[in-house]
Every structure is written in structure tokens, then in C-alpha cells.
Symmetry: C2
Subunit: 196 residues, 2 copies
């Protein structure tokens, strides 16, 4: 939807900026995306980006929140307190990563790892939006949760990077069942098995 | 060691270029490092880089080979055909990653993931220099090795990224014993346990 030029701020402006920024970060990466061009795509004045978000870092943070929210998925899988949650968690995670929003999220993750500043944002986002919701649903004693959830994070991130970014075979072409069978028990052990 | 200007090529020139490039890629990343500045640091004419390596991509590839060679470690650990190789492999890998060359390797890996071209180099390097040597030492039937080794790669890469790049706690501060105890059994299962 082309717009003719700047217009006053509002809820709609914020949403338009987010849509434009999401595409810019995914296609051009953090370094390549510019506030000026995002503003132009959204049809707003660049000052609106600072007004609504504060700056490019905060915009990336807001965008990274946008594509997928893992909380409902985590609650659905772990809230039922299954004895082997790994398979269900993986199955849902694979479907989510392979959806449009998931691919955008992986693209943005990938373009955030080479700079300390953006890695800091990724860490905050991961802790607040992924690891905290998982810890909240875990049934093991609270004191064990941070360690278990960081182990879970290693396996999940490694799977994402190797399957979707580096794309080693046969992993990149493996079907979900194969991955769930092989990696599910790892997730089960990290979440509730013997790790000490 | 400062040099006064260009000098003719030779084995020494190649080594000097590699040392300069290693530092440039680690400190400035793939995008920031320039052939011109690497040549200046090495005290050679920029044409010598094309002469010896072909270009910036090939230089990165050559540099990525330089810092650490996993083959002897893999042979030492897996060559003895232990029943639980995960602990020994992890213990050696953690020590290697935390050495100077290991940190350089992680820095270069980190600065290679956001571009398709450099990711392609990482994939080749990983397959040829890490996964192939591991497969050569494995005792399970050959047909199973590519799948097992890609599972191993997911766990190892995720551990590297979460501990050294994204640095989530308590993982980033965990001591080696904790990590070996928690992750060792995962490696054992991926290398020789039930994954189908």
C-alpha cells in the first residue's frame, strides 16, 4: 500500500513502521537496514521512528517480538505436564520455525549475532520472551530451572543454526519425525531428567 | 613486526598474510576486514593476496583453517573407541574453544553467519575439517554416520553460540564439569546410542 508522504503518528503508524522494519531487517540485515528507508517504506517521517521506538536498536527489539510469540506454544505443551514433553515441543517448534514468521525470526537472529550490541538485544529477548515463559511452566524445582532451560536453549539454537542457516545434510532435508525421534529425548532430559 | 613496504612473494609472505587476515577477520569481521588493510598489515602488495589465495572469500577459508585443527583431538578421543566418548570430547572441545585459537575461530564463525556466501564457506569447512574427521573415527556403520554427526554438530554449535556468543546465564559461567555432566550423555547418544 503506497503512501504519498509523512502523516501524523498513531497506532496505525506504529504498526506500519513495524511491518516495514520487519521486512527491512529480514532482507537487508541489521546493518543494511536504515531508519530513513524504513520510514519511507512505511510512509512516515523518520522522526516518527524515534518517537515510537527510540531508535534502530529498539526497533529491532520490537520487530523481533513481532513474528512469533513462543509463550502460547510453551504453555500448551508444558502446561499439560507431560512425562516426555520433548517430542511435542520439538514438533511445534519445527512447524513454527518453518512458518513465514519463524523464517523471519531466524533471518533476524542470523543478522544479529555478529555485533555485540545486537547480540545483547538477542540475549535480552531470548531471556525475557523465550526462556522465562518456559521456566514459568516447568515442574522441576525453581532453583534448577535456569540451568535446565539454558541446556534446552543450546540444543534448540544449534538445531536452528545447523538446519536452517548452515544447512548441513542430512539434517537440512530431514523430516520432522526423524528429528523428533533423535532430539526429543535430549529435550526431555534437559527439562526434567538427570543433568547433574 | 612492522615492515616498510611491499616485497616479493614466497612462503613467508603467505604466512604473514594469514596472520594479518586472522586478526582482521576476528577483530573487524568479514565485512569490515579489507584486502587492502590486510595487505598493509602483512607488509605486502594487495596483489599478493589474490596471487596466494584468490580473493577475500578464499582468504577467510584459509584463515578459518588456521586457528585450530580438530582432527588430532577427534582421533585421540574417538580412536580409543570409548563406550562414553561424550565427556572426553566435550572436555577437549571446551578447552580448545577457550584457547586463543578457539576464540578466534568462534569470532570468525560469528562474523560469517549473516551472509549466504560466507555461510557457504563455513558449511564446507565444517563438513571437510570437522565432520569428516569425526565420521572417519566413528565405529557405528558408515550409513549412520552422516545423521549422527549432524546431530552432534547441532549440540556443539548450540553450546558454542549460547556460552560464548549470546552468553546466557548460568551457562556462560558454568564450569566444565557441569557442562560435561549435563551434555556428555547427549553426545554419547548422538554418536553411538539410539537415535532412530
Amino acid at each position: 500500500m503506497a503512501r504519498r508522504g509523512p502523516r501524523p503518528g498513531g497506532a496505525d503508524t506504529r504498526a506500519d513502521i513495524l511491518v516495514a522494519a520487519e521486512r527491512a531487517f529480514a532482507e537487508q540485515g541489521y546493518d543494511g537496514a536504515t531508519v530513513r528507508r524504513i520510514a519511507a517504506t512505511a510512509g512516515v517521517d523518520p522522526s516518527m521512528i524515534n518517537h515510537h521506538f527510540g531508535g534502530k536498536d529498539e526497533l529491532l527489539m520490537a520487530v523481533l517480538e513481532l513474528p512469533m510469540d513462543p509463550q502460547p506454544m510453551v504453555a500448551a505443551v508444558l502446561g499439560a505436564s507431560p512425562t516426555a514433553p520433548g517430542a511435542a515441543l520439538l514438533r511445534r517448534a519445527l512447524a513454527a520455525w518453518e512458518s513465514g514468521p519463524g523464517q523471519l525470526t531466524i533471518g533476524m537472529l542470523r543478522s544479529s549475532l555478529h555485533r555485540d550490541r545486537t547480540v545483547g538485544l538477542v540475549r535480552q529477548l531470548l531471556e525475557r520472551r523465550v526462556l522465562a515463559p518456559i521456566m514459568a511452566e516447568m515442574t522441576v524445582p525453581e532453583a534448577e530451572r535456569p540451568w535446565r532451560v539454558s541446556l534446552l536453549a543450546t540444543q534448540m539454537l544449534g538445531l536452528i543454526m545447523m538446519r536452517y542457516v548452515i544447512r548441513i545434510e542430512p539434517l537440512a532435508s530431514a523430516d520432522h519425525d526423524q528429528i523428533v525421534t533423535a532430539v526429543g529425548p535430549t529435550i526431555d532430559r534437559y527439562l526434567q531428567g538427570d543433568v547433574d
